[in-house]
């Protein structure tokens, strides 16, 4: 292992990691929003929209992100929709993640709804008030383990961004290997930087899950 090579590459990887982090977390935030919205719409059986969102979930859950991104970035411009590579990253991650998050939230909403909706209704609350004040706050904490697992999954998925020519960690590693053949150094840095991105989330997930196991819901 050549330490000079490592220190030389470090800034390049650092920059690539910031890009991965930025797109990754914006994508995660979008995914949470889309997932919540989808879960609520499907739960309330909103006519038409419900079917649309169900189809959306099936499509995005059953196709690879790499293909989704390629389609957004390379194919859509041909019908006049031009999206920058970075926005493609947000959208791809947000839509893919939203389809997973919605399932996580939906099971949370269903569990809480079945035990709490009626007692909230009997106090004279409207359906909307019940959703906002009673069900969503609890469904959110109920869904945390699944949501954290999805966040880890999404942050890992960012590794395909180089396919739409974003200069992320994978792009950096492949590029440098191709140019200088410092394979060992390049791969080590790659692993280290992904650990920096993912290890904290994974640890946080374990801690949260352990804490939630002691919190009781319903009875």
């Amino acid at each position: 292992m050549d330490w000079n090579v490592i220190t030389e590459y470090l800034p390049l990887y650092w920059k690539a990691m910031l890009l991965t982090l930025r797109i990754g977390w914006i994508g995660v935030a979008l995914a949470v929003l889309i997932g919540l919205m989808t879960a609520v719409i499907i739960h309330f059986r909103v006519p038409v929209l419900r079917v649309v969102f169900k189809i959306y979930i099936e499509i995005f859950r059953n196709t690879p992100l790499l293909i989704q991104l390629s389609f957004l970035y390379f194919a859509l411009p041909k019908i006049g929709i031009k999206i920058s590579a970075e926005v493609c990253g947000w959208l791809g991650l947000g839509l893919l993640g939203g389809s997973y998050m919605s399932e996580a939230f939906r099971s949370g909403i269903e569990v809480i709804d079945s035990v709490q909706r009626e007692s909230a209704l009997s106090l004279g609350m409207t359906n909307f008030q019940v959703m906002i004040h009673i069900i969503l706050p609890q469904a959110f904490s109920y869904s945390i383990p699944a949501v954290v697992a999805n966040i880890i999954f999404l942050l890992k998925e960012t590794s395909v961004f180089s396919a739409v020519s974003l200069i992320d960690l994978m792009f950096r590693a492949k590029d440098l290997i191709g140019l200088y053949y410092n394979t060992a150094e390049c791969l080590t840095l790659l692993v280290v930087f992904y650990l920096i991105i993912l290890l904290p989330v994974s640890i946080l997930g374990t801690v949260l899950e352990r804490r939630l196991r002691y919190a009781s819901f319903g009875t």
Binding site: P64, F74, K78, S202
Partner: protein, 225 residues
């Protein structure tokens, strides 16, 4: 048709080539799935062992797989082995190794979850009825565990098929790569081919994955009560 570039699809043997590409990806995932199921069941049983050393080793393996993107694992195996061991691994073999390494861990965790997820009172009532350990496992525990396991492994298979799309990034000529080649070859005659072809690839992957998802959902619902 022309505007959307779908015409290219039916030119010559293009569609057939796409299907061949898809088959390449599916073949890799099917081999990996088959290996992962067998090894995963073994790994899952090993994980239920109470020995702390065994437990720790399993845990580390599982965490590595959980944290590292499959792309990174592919790079490590594909580029790394050449460097460290001097092997000249081809991309397909590297892919099978990586997906099996990953799938075994995931499958193992599902098996562990299914076996330990059978409620304790099920064991107790089986024993209370005078069953031997073998009888209890064969007639009560394993059937119950399988009901939890099968829908989840269907979902894992979907994920493995989807992840196979990554092999293109280490140079396997699968369906996305084939479509890129076709697009390149028809750049002049049909500049919009990219739309039609990528749409087709999108649909092909969907068709490959959806049945497993549907089956998983169906079985989950059937066995939930």
């Amino acid at each position: 048709m022309q505007a959307l570039g779908l015409d290219v699809l039916f030119k010559g043997s293009n569609f057939l080539r796409l299907l061949e590409g898809l088959w390449k990806a599916l073949g890799i995932s099917l081999i990996a799935v088959a290996l992962s199921i067998v090894l995963g069941i073994l790994f899952g049983i090993v994980m239920t062992v109470r020995n702390p050393v065994v437990k720790a080793v399993c845990r580390v393996y599982l965490e590595i797989v959980r944290i590292m993107p499959q792309m990174v694992l592919l790079f490590l195996v594909f580029f790394g082995t050449t460097r460290v061991f001097g092997w000249n691994l081809n991309a397909e073999a590297a892919s099978v190794i990586v997906f099996t390494f990953w799938g075994t861990a995931e499958m193992g965790d599902l098996v562990r979850g299914a076996v330990t997820g059978v409620p304790k009172h099920q064991y107790e009532s089986a024993f209370a009825l005078g069953m031997t350990k073998a009888q209890a496992y064969l007639t009560v525990i394993i059937p119950l565990a399988i009901r939890q396991l099968i829908p989840q492994s269907m979902n894992l298979i979907t994920r493995m098929i989807k992840t196979t799309s990554l092999v293109m990034m280490i140079g396997v000529v699968e369906v996305l790569k084939v479509s890129q080649q076709i697009i390149e070859a028809n750049r002049m005659s049909s500049p919009n081919a990219v739309f039609g072809l990528y749409l087709t690839v999108f649909i092909l992957y969907f068709v490959a994955c959806w049945p497993f998802s549907l089956l998983a959902k169906r079985l989950e619902r059937k066995w939930s009560n």
